[in-house]
């Protein structure tokens, strides 16, 4: 017979051991690193900053100075593991572009989810969509924000894959995005979250060496 404290302890232990915060050294690194960044802004402020940056990016694009591009586009079909990331990364080889560039895949080839990353020298974001039943979430807002005026295909994706989540963080003057979603591809989501939960992308290599090829920069 267990007392209530033991019951709470047992219930908590399993979840805690699987949580990344159970690694106190790593948590310490993350906390001290993130604490260097400016204080987290409110959602309303974030939204305003996003809109402002998007408008600025749109102006740049219209003016022929675009540094905006799709970095990768990935999703999965039958095998929901890292291999899909690698495959997608290989498929979506980065190309330095001067205007918005969409990487296409055969229709129906990646029906369940999509990931995209957009980048300028001051902004990048990622959207993750999953093809399950359609909650319209913050991701749509974010995608729409990033797609004002020049990204109609993103709207199509939104319509086709309505179930998605996204969380935006502004760190050190840049917009960092962490994302996760429900759906079939936990590992993808976790990897993505780990990636964007850390400030230095190189840490991804340590944690998830299988997927580091996903990330490309230019601009």
């Amino acid at each position: 017979m267990m007392n209530y404290r033991e019951i709470f302890e047992a219930a908590l232990s399993g979840a805690y051991s699987s949580a990344s915060c159970s690694d106190s050294g790593r948590l310490f690194d993350i906390v001290t690193e993130r604490a260097k960044a400016p204080a987290k802004k409110s959602t309303a402020l974030k939204r305003n900053v996003i809109i402002a940056v998007v408008i600025a990016a749109a102006v740049l694009i219209c003016g022929g100075f675009a540094v905006f591009g799709v970095i990768f586009y990935t999703d999965s079909t039958s095998d929901p593991y890292f291999i899909n990331f690698s495959a997608a990364a290989n498929s979506a080889a980065p190309v330095k572009i001067e205007h918005y560039y969409s990487i296409s895949f055969p229709e129906g080839f990646y029906p369940d989810s999509t990931q995209r990353m957009y980048c300028t020298d001051t902004l990048y974001s990622v959207s993750y969509t999953d093809g399950n039943d359609g909650h319209i979430t913050f991701a749509q807002y974010a995608i729409n924000s990033f797609s004002i005026g020049y990204e109609k295909d993103t709207f199509e994706i939104v319509n086709n894959f309505a179930d998605k989540t996204i969380d935006l963080h502004i760190i050190d003057g840049k917009i960092m995005t962490r994302l996760w979603t429900d759906g079939n591809y936990i590992y993808e989501v976790t990897a993505a979250k780990e990636l964007f939960g850390l400030i230095e992308l190189k840490k991804l290599h340590e944690v998830y060496p299988e997927v580091h090829d996903l990330v490309y920069y230019w601009g």
């Binding site: 209530y4 709470f8 302890e9 906390v31």
Partner: protein
């Protein structure tokens, strides 16, 4: 706060903060986030603490506030946590998963009150202060929650010692 102090408090109290967050958010990803945010707040907090116990209660109160804030957020209300994915790619919780599920059947306010009382060892008055509630409300939730938890545990084939 000095880094050495932060490191020590992370070692001491991460699990407590995580547990409080789990009462509200019920998935490890969000609880992880809350733990980070809470310790960032601690690290950047300019005030002073009287004792380790003071730090612990400050952290737990902070975790409660942070969790409530997340639950109110637009993002959270219109999205599903990872753990609710229909086809999990992996399962990493194991045998205690069912026990966690049982706890998660409690409503959040009751869950946090039971957690604070039985796991953290706080009194009803202290819990009321942390959860922005009244002592009477906490007592009521404790009484009702204890019965509910006992019933849920019983349904799950677990006998609880009700002496506490």
């Amino acid at each position: 706060m000095k880094k050495e102090e932060l490191e020590r408090y992370i070692r001491l109290y991460t699990k407590n903060v995580f547990g409080a967050a789990m009462c509200y958010v019920r998935n490890t990803s969000d609880a992880d986030d809350i733990v980070q945010e809470v310790f960032i707040k601690l690290y950047t907090y300019s005030g002073s603490f009287e004792s380790d116990e003071h730090v612990r209660s400050w952290l737990l109160k902070c975790a409660v506030n942070q969790s409530k804030s997340l639950l109110r957020s637009y993002w959270y209300r219109f999205s599903e946590p990872l753990e609710k994915a229909e086809n999990k790619a992996h399962s990493d919780i194991g045998e205690t998963d069912s026990l966690l599920d049982i706890m998660n059947r409690l409503d959040r306010k009751t869950h946090i009150v039971l957690y604070m009382y039985y796991y953290e060892g706080y009194s009803a008055k202290e819990i009321a202060g942390m959860t922005h509630s009244t002592e009477n409300a906490v007592m009521h939730r404790l009484s009702r929650g204890r019965k509910k938890l006992k019933m849920l545990l019983s349904q799950g084939g677990i006998d609880a010692d009700d002496e506490l």
